[in-house]
């Protein structure tokens, strides 16, 4: 059997005295869509950022595709990875942010082409072709030469998704991708994500969109206070929550 795409074993993370993650255990299989829900401050975004080493974990083990994140293990010892290796690993994981974080001084196409050309060293011709195809796929073929400031929030987020996909990642992380959007723009972004899931992309999605979680998610975890309170299929957890904490949270958001 293929190794899990993401494997977390008692992952701890603290900022000074504050423990943000207190023993996270979870597995994401290849082609699986995992949704993480929970109140703000529950540590779900922090956990997501640990997966591509934007944050360092303090204890436990976290691996992606069978390899430790940010470290190398040899002879029973853990070695920190040099910057170059960390970058190479990150290049294989796409990430989409709540605030889009498109590069404002580049057009939509330039945003998409930047990393494949500069990080992977692919040729302009190949990358441009792929970039245009990706923009077409997210429904923005006519926005190729437009700067991000001239795009709506939903359009910006779709460019951001295309930018992440241009690196041909094996795993996509979404950090509340629709939370900064006007309600009527949420649908277009979720549609793109739904299509991505259907194409078999492995995805970890931090979200408040319960409808999306129920419909697209293969599994769902509810986090609170830095631990996983409840995990299961979205249908189980959302329809029949076992814990009081989950129940009270869901009663407020559903």
């Amino acid at each position: 059997m293929a190794p899990p795409m993401v494997l977390a074993e008692s992952v701890y993370k603290c900022y000074g005295r504050l423990e943000v993650l207190r023993g996270i255990d979870l597995t994401v299989a290849p082609r699986e869509v995992l949704c993480i829900v929970g109140p703000s401050g529950s540590g779900k975004s922090t956990f997501l950022r640990c997966i591509n080493h934007l944050e360092k974990i303090d204890a436990g083990r976290l691996s992606v595709d069978g390899q430790l994140v940010g470290y190398r293990e040899r002879g029973g010892k853990i070695y920190e990875l040099p910057d170059r290796e960390v970058c190479r690993k990150r290049a294989e994981i796409g990430m989409v942010f709540q605030r889009f974080n498109l590069f404002p001084h580049m057009t939509a196409l330039e945003n998409i082409m930047e990393a494949p050309m500069r990080v992977k060293g692919e040729t302009q011709k190949v990358v441009e072709e792929r970039g245009r195809a990706l923009l077409d796929r997210v429904g923005l073929a006519d926005k190729v030469d437009v700067y991000p400031n001239h795009l709506s929030g939903g359009q910006q987020q779709r460019v951001a998704i295309a930018r992440a996909l241009a690196m041909q990642p094996k795993l996509m992380l979404f950090d509340e991708p629709t939370s900064a959007l006007d309600p009527e723009l949420v649908g277009e972004v979720l549609d793109v994500m739904r299509g991505l899931a259907q194409d078999g992309m492995t995805m970890v999605v931090v979200t408040h969109e319960m409808g999306f979680a129920r419909e697209v998610g293969d599994s769902l975890v509810f986090m609170d206070g830095g631990v996983i309170v409840e995990a299961g299929t979205p249908r189980e957890v959302l329809a029949n929550p076992q814990h009081e904490r989950t129940r009270s949270f869901l009663s407020k958001v559903l």
């Binding site: 910057d83 994981i93 990393a115 400031n149």
Partner: protein, 333 residues
Amino acid sequence: MTTGQGTISDPTIPAARRPDAIKAIPVRHPWRWVAAVVVLAFAAAVIYTFATAPGLQWSVVGQFQFYPEILQGVLVTLELTVIAMVIGVVLGVILAVMRLSVNPVVSSVSWFYIWFFRGTPVLVQIFFWFQIGSILPFLHFGIPFTHLVWVGQTNKIITPFLAAILGLGLNEAAYMAEIVRAGIISVDTGQTEAAQALGMARVLVMRRIVLPQAMRVIIPPTGNETISMLKTSSLAYIATVGELFFIQKEISNFNYDIIELVTVASIWYLAMTSVLTFGQFYLERYFARGASRQLPPTPLQRFRRLLFHFHDPPPTGPFEPLPIDTTHLAGHV
């Protein structure tokens, strides 16, 4: 679109009829005219006073304005400014990036440099480089652990011009470092995170993502610094460099027309800073691309508007009168 009868005949839909654009009589601003007259009168008085000042011989000013030695001085002033600014900007960017480095040794070196060069007067620094020959008569350049050594006489290597360049450039770098650092800090951290998440290495993130966005914050004070440098370069006279200020002083030492020659120099300084101000505008405009939705009008565009469309409202998109389609109203009214 509105071919269906039902949609038009419904009188509760007000969107169908667009009222005429408002033709209001603009508010008059009499005080603006009063202020303009007062300012013009005052300016005229000042100009008249100096133009007719008995001690100021304008003919002498005119005689020396394009004097070959003065023109030569202008050229040297420009050379000093350009070279010192290039050193300042390049070294300043390096120092700013060093200052923000995670490596404590590197960031301390930058801190110390800025502390030292910002903390002593430029005049002293220029003078120090000019006089360095008196404390170090010979300079030794060698490769460590080899016998390859090259020795030179300090006064031959550090010419007055080089002394001025070192003094001005190294001092400027300290100021530019702080300007660049402020620019780098002003860029949203989400930009760095997004770039890192794409696998971009630290140097690449800085060069491709952070610095280009920092430019918007860096350019205006850098223009300021360049204009300042143009004038500060006059301090090079202490190192006997033949720049504009030094030359005019040399001339007035002979003919005693002190004020006239200072006026000649001032006119040149003003002319040069005016050109720089103009250049700065276009540079800022270039780096604003993608950041603002509408670029500010160029001076030429503003001038045209002033001449031909003085009373038009400013050209902002949404208020431009739209062609009113009245065809669908035919049956209604």
